[in-house]
Amino acid sequence: MEVYRTDIAVVGAGSAGLSAAYQAAGAGAKVLVIDENRLPGGQLFKQIHKFFGSRAHRAGTRGYMIGRELLENVTASGAEVWLDSLVYGMQKDLSLGVIRNGKHIVVKADAVIVAAGAKENYMAFPGSTLPGVMGAGAAQTMINVNRVLPGERVLMLGSGNVGLIVSYQLMQAGAEVVALVEGAPKIGGYGVHAGKIRRAGVPIYLSHTIKSVTGNGRVEKVEIVGVDARWQQIPGTEKTFEADTVCLAVGLNPMTELLWMSGCEFCFIPAFGGHVPLHDASMETTVKGLYVAGDVTGVEEASSAMEEGNLAGIGAARALGFLSEEEAKRKLAETAERLRTLRSGMFGEGRRKAKEQQLEAMEQYRAGTAESMI
């Protein structure tokens, strides 16, 4: 059995993983990044819109351009990237089981950074298994990465930023968006994103959900229905749309499977999409040498994922002696400050509180462990 040794292994070559690799390799560590996809960049390369954030976060630059620059930086930093390589498991000693080119390789690293991202939530309703019903993220991959239009007339469910942005991008790709439907009584994402699709004439139905999708072997008709404050359908409020595609943008949840195998501690934070690993300010989990970054620590957005990746890369490099305590401290503080600005304002407050709760749970855990050792 082939064994590959490295200082730091990073699982996931998305926003967080690439940032972590860049930081750690830049500090002088031998870094291996492993990703199951054929292309690096995670979700970055399908983000064709201009990013928000500050100039420090490359705001105003389109996501795929940020991805390209990040990838160039990683390549220049000397980190190795394995694509089309699946990490199927992790042992208690942090060794990773990897399938690459049909071969089984064990990767042994002194520190592992898991940046596995998140997966889309699904929603069941009559007709939800008909071809043409898909995750909004899947539709986004089709149009922006594979240049394939999934349909001509799309109904979007969910008004978070994913639902709003993908609706806009579907229209840019040439589709019609017949309606955006949201169960809550208000729009979840940024008003400016909603404004783009309203100017394009897309109606937004709040307090509505999909009642059923019908069609002969594919999506042909979508019936929506109003819901009350307890999310119960209100008979008589149905409306029908002709559509060939239904996109579901109903949230994401962290891809924590590998982390569960490691035995690290979790807490449950609904605002972050479910169970998330406890971690400290340098992104280290309750398992020594195991770090986390990006959506796997709680679903946020790309700029925050990149900053968490920076934190994890700096943290792991420090733990292995590639950065002095002083330098690491300064870098961690600078990164934490940029991250703070991303978690402020009316949309960031909830995430800031959730992250505080997660960090607090970690402190309590460590205090508890220290106590039990006395």
């Binding site: 819109h49 201009k50 990013f51 928000f52 954030g53 500050s54 100039r55 705001a59 105003g60 630059t61 389109r62 351009m65 229209m171 840019q172 040439g174 009584p185 208000k186 729009i187 940024y190 008003g191 400016v192 994103h193 909603a194 404004g195 783009k196 699709i197 309203r198 100017r199 394009a200 004439g201 897309v202 937004i204 709040l206 600005t341 991303l342 402020s344 304002g345 009316m346 949309f347 960031g348």
Partner: protein
């Protein structure tokens, strides 16, 4: 219900409280940026895009952009730099009967100079015809076209964009060389 979180369109109250909107008096005097940014989101490219210091946000990047209307020359560089596509340049003094608006546009096909298009409101309603004055594309705009359009004066407070043009089919473009990009 009214308001951006219910409709995706800022209400009259939200717009009048917005620090990015120029005064009536300034608007009547000529080209000026109109920043319809009413929610505190972490974003500040507009501040850096303005060479005249006419847009300020400050250290807390969730603060709303403040327009300093006397410093604004109406150059329009901010229009393509706003990731939210929330900035336009309005010129109420364009002519006796018409006003002009520069707005960001990210759909193809693009209109051509002189085209008559459907001018739409913030909510996508077709209000009147708009005459395309100019289609500005620049590397610095990073893929966002800025379109100048003249509309009858009475519609200028409501018009914010144009209706998308029909998608060209393969046969439409068969005779043309290369692909159109913004």
């Amino acid at each position: 219900m009214e308001g951006i979180i219910y409709t995706g369109v800022p209400s009259k109250e939200e717009l009048s409280a917005c620090p990015g909107i120029p005064s009536e008096e300034r608007m009547n005097r000529g080209r000026v940026a109109c920043i319809e940014c009413v929610q505190e989101i972490p974003c500040n490219p507009c501040e850096g895009a303005c060479r005249f210091g006419a847009i300020t946000i400050g250290e807390e990047i969730t603060r709303l952009p403040v327009l300093h209307e006397e410093k604004c020359t109406g150059c329009g560089v901010c229009v393509a730099n706003c990731p939210g596509l929330a900035i336009t340049v309005i010129d109420r003094s364009f002519s006796e009967t018409e006003a002009s608006i520069d707005f960001p546009f990210e759909y193809i096909p693009l209109p051509a100079e002189g085209d008559l298009v459907d001018a739409v409101s913030r909510g996508g309603e077709v209000l009147c015809k708009g005459r395309i004055l100019k289609v500005k594309k620049s590397k610095a705009f990073a893929g966002t076209a800025v379109i100048s359009m003249a509309v009858p004066k009475e519609y200028i407070d409501e018009v914010r964009s144009m209706k998308r043009l029909p998608r060209r089919t393969a046969s439409d473009t068969a005779g043309k060389n290369g692909k159109e990009t913004i």
